[in-house]
């Protein structure tokens, strides 16, 4: 089977597994898978920004939080039906992403990382301060969503399928985005900004655009996550959350779509099992994994999957162009990094 046919087949298996899943696990586990699906949306959004366009954000926990609160406030204060709050959360975050994208235009690499890190650190404080809206440190509770009678599903299964459907839609949209003109433009910006501009890529439009889209994904993910948990407080969105998102895209594979699934499952379930051993173990694993993956597996899990499938399916890797996208970033020193020589004017 060629790699071309392997990809739809693999996605088919993933979708089949995802649909069958809630019928084999208890409500608690199904809730965790729901949260993983919600996280996957946010992780995918971050990967669009970091993996594809090369803009570093250490602060996606802030958009996740913003989406969560936009949804929760719409539900409790305005009485908006649960699912209609998703577009609201998405729109609010897209706007916020657009606004943060404006200064990001002038901030490259490290500096953007610094600013977004600051945003992530400030987030819980700002939520606490805006206690009129957010309930401050008390947090807000949401009633659990109930399944409509016609569906014949339990509440947790219903929410799982809703989240899964939204996630599937977001994945398909992202897939079309990155495989087309937009994706090529983003990768061109990442690999060589000057060359991209020469080829007629409108840098400002794409960089701000991808920031807004990425924030929108994080916001929708945050809204679904919170609906599933049923409670949110400033402490739900610590700096560690932003770091977890970053760990997720590295584990799944930078500049991949499917990697978000692996990454989200990783950050949903590793803390659950690690906490049995020690409260600190999850962090040790996150940190260790971030470093080790950059050395050993810069393409993440998806990079590994592609390498295996392309060596088996196509002996002389015709699929290398795609597999290469992930490796590029990590393997760094050889190409773009070296081409841009640093000279100090002193």
């Amino acid at each position: 089977m060629s790699a071309k046919r392997l990809r739809p087949a693999a996605w088919g298996v993933v979708v089949l597994l995802a649909v069958l899943l809630p019928f084999f696990f208890n409500a608690y586990r199904v809730g965790q898978f729901t949260q993983a699906a919600a996280l996957a949306i946010a992780v995918l959004g971050l990967n669009l920004l970091v993996g594809y366009s090369g803009q570093i954000s250490l602060g996606h926990g802030a958009f996740f939080a913003l989406g969560a609160y936009a949804s929760a406030i719409s539900i409790t204060d305005l009485g908006v039906p649960y699912l209609l709050t998703l577009p609201i959360a998405g729109a609010v975050c897209a706007l916020a992403g657009f606004l943060l994208g404006l200064p990001a235009l002038r901030l490259r690499g490290l500096y953007l990382a610094l600013v977004t890190l600051g945003v992530a650190i400030a987030t819980p404080q700002i939520i606490k301060r805006a206690d009129g809206l957010t309930g401050g440190t008390q947090g807000m509770s949401l009633d659990k969503i109930t399944a409509p009678a016609w569906s014949g599903l339990a509440d947790d299964q219903w929410l799982y399928f809703v989240t899964l459907a939204v996630a599937a839609l977001m994945f398909v949209v992202a897939g079309f985005l990155v495989r087309g003109r937009v994706g090529r433009a983003l990768v061109a910006i990442r690999d060589n900004e000057i060359a991209a501009r020469t080829m007629g890529v409108d840098l400002a439009r794409f960089k701000i655009g991808v920031f807004a889209v990425s924030a929108m994904y994080a916001g929708v993910g945050g809204a679904l996550f919170t609906i599933s948990i049923g409670f949110l407080a400033p402490e739900s969105f610590p700096l560690a959350l932003s770091f977890a998102f970053l760990a997720a895209i590295v584990v799944g594979g930078l500049a991949t779509i499917g990697g978000a699934l692996f990454g989200a499952l990783f950050i949903e379930f590793v803390p659950v099992y690690a906490a049995d051993v020690d409260e600190a173990l999850a962090g040790v694993i996150y940190g260790g994994v971030l470093i080790l993956f950059m050395y050993l597996l810069p393409g993440g899990v998806m990079g590994l999957v592609r390498r295996i499938s392309s060596t088996k399916a196509t002996p002389r890797g015709t699929d290398d162009a795609q597999a290469g996208a992930g490796h590029r970033l990590g393997g760094g020193a050889a190409d773009a990094g070296a081409a841009r020589e640093r000279v100090r004017a002193q």
């Binding site: 200064p103 002038r106 690499g109 600051g118 301060r129 060589n192 004017a345």
Partner: protein, 293 residues
Amino acid sequence: MDRFIQVLVDGWATGSLYGALAVAVVLIYRATGIVNFAQGELAMFSTFIAWGLMQAGLPLGLAVLATLALSFVGGMLIERVIIRPVEGGEVLTLVIVTLGLYILVNSLAGWIWGFGNRAFPSLFGDGSFDVAGAAVPYESIGIVVVLIALVAILFAVFQRTKVGLAMRAVAMNPESSRLHGISVGRTLMIGWGVAALVGALAGVLIAPRLFLDVNFMGAVLIYSFAAATLGGFDSPLGALIGGWIVGIAEGLAGTYVDFIGSDLKILVPLTVILVVLLIRPTGLFGSAEVARA
């Protein structure tokens, strides 16, 4: 008026501490072009070592000296083992690796020492004296003096010694330095060692003002990034002065701007970083970088 002077003095001392960590960040940036996101956590880890040594019966002064030495060695090891393989790589790779180090060190400390907080004694005692009606703690003066001395020593090392010359050469052009017989790897290791030592010093000076726990450097890090950004990322003196400005601005904003109060002080460094980067990206004392495509 008393209150105003009090705020100024406190801000100056706090700012010196931000400056101290900023100096550590700047040292590594100068040497390797890497912003070490783990700098604060390494300082936290060092401070815990000092605390552990004191628990083992060492007097404070001796514990701090031993900690500085251990941190120097630790910094060199980290450069050799963790950073060397990705040195010269892309920004994204470097950011991810140092963030990995951040999370790893933070969690390891939590694993070893737990997440509770502890009091840490000050090197300068608890006394204070009066200046124009404001009580100035000896600690504040001590911190400022130590930091000025530190920057002076670093300046002397960079400008007057062979090691310092080698470090400047490696920062400017590793290839040419190697051709001139400088061991680039060893020089970078020393750079990381010195940075870890300076960070450890910052840690033991900051800990008495806050409580020692695994996250106590988290917020300090963003203030020192603000200090380094304001001073210019490649200037130790700039980092110190940047720290002073940020510290005093934080104190004034927290005291006199009702909207900010004590909750939203964190917005001060964030604003400083954004404004400086957008208006004058090289900071006050930094040198411009020219990119060749």
